[in-house]
């Protein structure tokens, strides 16, 4: 294996963030004490307790929904689109101004590398608000009408805490809805800082309400009778429970759920670029990505060469302190998630796949998992079927394009897929035949506010981003 470069530590200062010992709920423009218990959020890289956060009770959720309803009827739905737009532009600007603070806080609470939160998450968050701000006074051109739905209940995951908040709140507000949003219980801090940004922007009280908590709080939001719209990003199991819970109601629902994406490498692909794409596809954000390229389908004739290059590249990944600017792979978000990754990886070995992990030293405290690849994986193996949501890649081989399509589509999921080949007509043919909402050809894991994102089949329904993302928050012209 290649020599590992020696790097001096290059930590980003955490002096820029001010984490309070405890946080309340953000309801009707104010931080209030919840009526429920409190829970702790920890830094997954050190297991240090960062803060105590209120767990919103049913009564708290009800108060938040009432505040959102009041703000909707009295203020937000009556305001002209151009005025709503200006609030969203303000928020986008404040996010840019406080970008470094948000990035550091995100990395501390989530465990993701600072270079990712600084260069990907936070800039895309600002871009998202900027993009949807511009739609607020142009909805009549959207194709979905310009009538908002009312109060949106939104529940988001821990893998991209602030980015998922932006995907939910920006289009909702642009369309004239008000929101009650629950961040994930392991990553509430940037959402609470966002609440402060709403105050700085003088956003009218009740337009955005942030209620922290776990599953029970989420259920209270989703099943609240005065919520008109439910938007959820998270696991497929919870997504199905939500779909059952809203059956027979008038609630509009969008679900962005799990995935088991195939990343398909043909023998004529530019292999160095493909290897970078494979690494980015599965090790970006510790593999905590619903659209991660977790199944590598490599053409048999180049499988050995690709594996050799991939392992060489994986050995150079720097795993460790999320705040170090040289870190490529940060901490696993929680002990629970780490246990799940370990369990599925052990099952992979037990079922007969061959395991290889990058030789890297892992810190003694915190939650860590070395970048890992399994070869000799068959389609029946659980590591080829189930979402691991960690830095674990399963490798399968194929001979013909049709076999690649068949294997790629042989999953209940359908969120994303990747194709690597130099042949243009093959790219377009593969893109047509892959049953997935996003197809990255000769690239992977690219996101943009203008680009719709969402899945086929059990990866959920509805799109976020782009003009399509407005549909989830408008009544529609003919429905």
């Amino acid at each position: 294996m290649s020599t590992v470069f020696e790097y001096a530590p290059a930590p980003e200062s955490r002096a820029i963030v001010d984490i309070k010992p405890s946080y309340g709920l953000f309801i009707d423009g104010e931080f209030v004490d919840g009526t429920g218990k409190a829970f702790k959020t920890v830094n997954p890289a050190t297991e240090e307790v960062l803060a105590e956060v209120a767990e919103a009770s049913d009564a708290d959720v009800d108060a938040a929904v009432k505040a959102a309803r009041r703000a909707y009827t009295r203020v937000w739905s009556r305001m002209s689109g151009s005025e709503r737009a200006k609030y969203l532009y303000r928020i986008a600007r404040i996010i840019q101004e406080r970008g470094r603070e948000l990035a550091v806080l995100e990395s501390i609470d989530n465990g993701k590398p600072i270079k990712e939160s600084r260069d990907v998450d936070i800039p895309v968050v600002a871009a998202h608000f900027f993009y949807y701000a511009g739609w607020a006074d142009k909805l009549k051109y959207s194709g979905y009408g310009e009538t908002p739905l009312g109060v949106a209940g939104q529940v988001i995951p821990w893998n991209f805490p602030l980015l998922m908040l932006a995907w939910k709140i920006a289009p909702a507000l642009a369309c004239g809805n008000t929101v009650v949003l629950k961040p994930a219980e392991t990553t509430p801090l940037t959402a609470l800082l966002f609440a402060e940004i709403c105050q700085q922007a003088d956003l009218p009280p009740g337009v955005v309400n942030i209620v922290t908590g776990a599953g029970d709080t989420g259920r209270a939001i989703v099943s609240h009778p005065d919520v008109d719209k439910v938007a959820f990003t998270g696991s497929t199991d919870v997504g199905k429970a939500i779909a059952r819970a809203v059956a027979g109601s008038n609630k509009k629902v969008t679900l962005e759920l799990g995935g088991k994406a195939a990343n398909i490498v043909f023998d004529d692909a530019p292999l160095d670029q493909a290897v970078e794409g494979i690494v980015n596809g599965i090790f970006f954000n510790q593999g905590h990505v619903c659209c991660a390229g977790s199944r590598l389908l490599v053409q048999e004739s180049v499988a050995d060469e690709v594996m050799e290059r991939l392992k060489r590249r994986m050995a150079t990944l720097r795993v460790g302190d999320p705040l170090d600017k040289n870190t490529d792979v940060g901490a696993i978000n929680s002990a629970e998630q780490l246990a799940k990754i370990r369990e599925l990886s052990d099952i992979g070995e037990a079922e007969g796949a061959e395991r290889w992990s990058a030789p890297c030293e892992l810190p003694s405290n915190g939650y860590w998992f070395a970048p890992t690849v399994f070869t000799g994986v068959s389609q029946a193996h659980r590591i080829a079927r189930e979402e691991i949501f960690g830095p674990v890649l399963s490798v399968l081989t194929f001979r013909t394009p049709s076999e690649a399509v068949e294997k790629a589509n042989n999953t209940p999921f359908g969120l994303s897929a990747g194709v690597w080949t130099d042949k243009g007509s093959r790219i377009l043919s593969m893109a047509n035949r892959l049953r997935a909402g996003v197809v990255w050809a000769n690239t992977f894991n690219k996101f943009d506010p203008t680009s719709p994102f969402g899945g086929y089949k059990e990866s959920g329904y509805g799109r976020e981003g782009g003009r399509h993302g407005l549909e989830a928050y408008l009544k529609g012209e003919d429905s």
């Binding site: 199905k240 779909a243 059956a247 086929y456 003009r467 012209e477």
Partner: protein, 286 residues
Amino acid sequence: MSRIDVRKTYKLYIGGQFPRSESGRSYVVNDAKGRLLANAAQASRKDARDAVVAARAAFGGWSGKTAYNRAQVVYRIAEVLEGRREQFEAELRAAEGISTAKARTYVDAAIDRLVWYAGWADKITQVVGNANPVAGPYFNLSTPEPSGVIAVVAPRGALLGLVSVVAPLIITGNTVVVIASEDNPLTAITLGEVMATSDLPGGVVNVLTGSQAEIAPWLASHMDVNGIDLTGVEDVALATELEAAGADNLKRVRRPAPDTDWLAEPGLDRMTRFLETKTVWHPIGV
């Protein structure tokens, strides 16, 4: 001496064929005045599952045809229906007890609706698709694709209601298993004869007759059905049960539409509800 009529046996329409129900069951269908019209096949769970298999088998070929070709086929259904309009008017008069003028209105509207949807095949992509100007050197295009196999509970309105729910699904490339109106199922089977002679590949539309409450739950919980259109479900509790069952594999759901005016021009929603958006990225470089 007057001639004795040769009556028609109404069977199911599955995979381009007209089988009897595997259960061997039938049920009595009366006209508006309560006189026997015919015995219709009473489809079973097994028939429903066979229909899903046929629809799945047809999906790849049908969705893979060019939009122009799908338009030609659906337009052809309209042509053949026009040629048999008197038969349909007579069936509607008998089944629904409506006037000659009203029957003609419904047949006219059904034919016109097929023509309207036929024209959408190669336009819907342009209306609901997008080129997306991402902030980077990437080609990025979003296009609609059919969701897959869609189960439909057809509304009352033996011809126009049925055409209005089926045409928007097949024109975009979905394949369909439709439960015909329980009280007026015969016209649906006659429409099957029209589809079978209109170059529509077998399995693209499959028609079941029988008990909605018996068959629909099997389709709602079927793991190889991608969406369910509950338009014709009038029992609110059943609709809720079907929607909840559909959550097992996250079916796309269209909730019941009790007050639809089938004579009014439809919007895009019956097409777009069962479309997926696929977004393709590619780097731009030399």
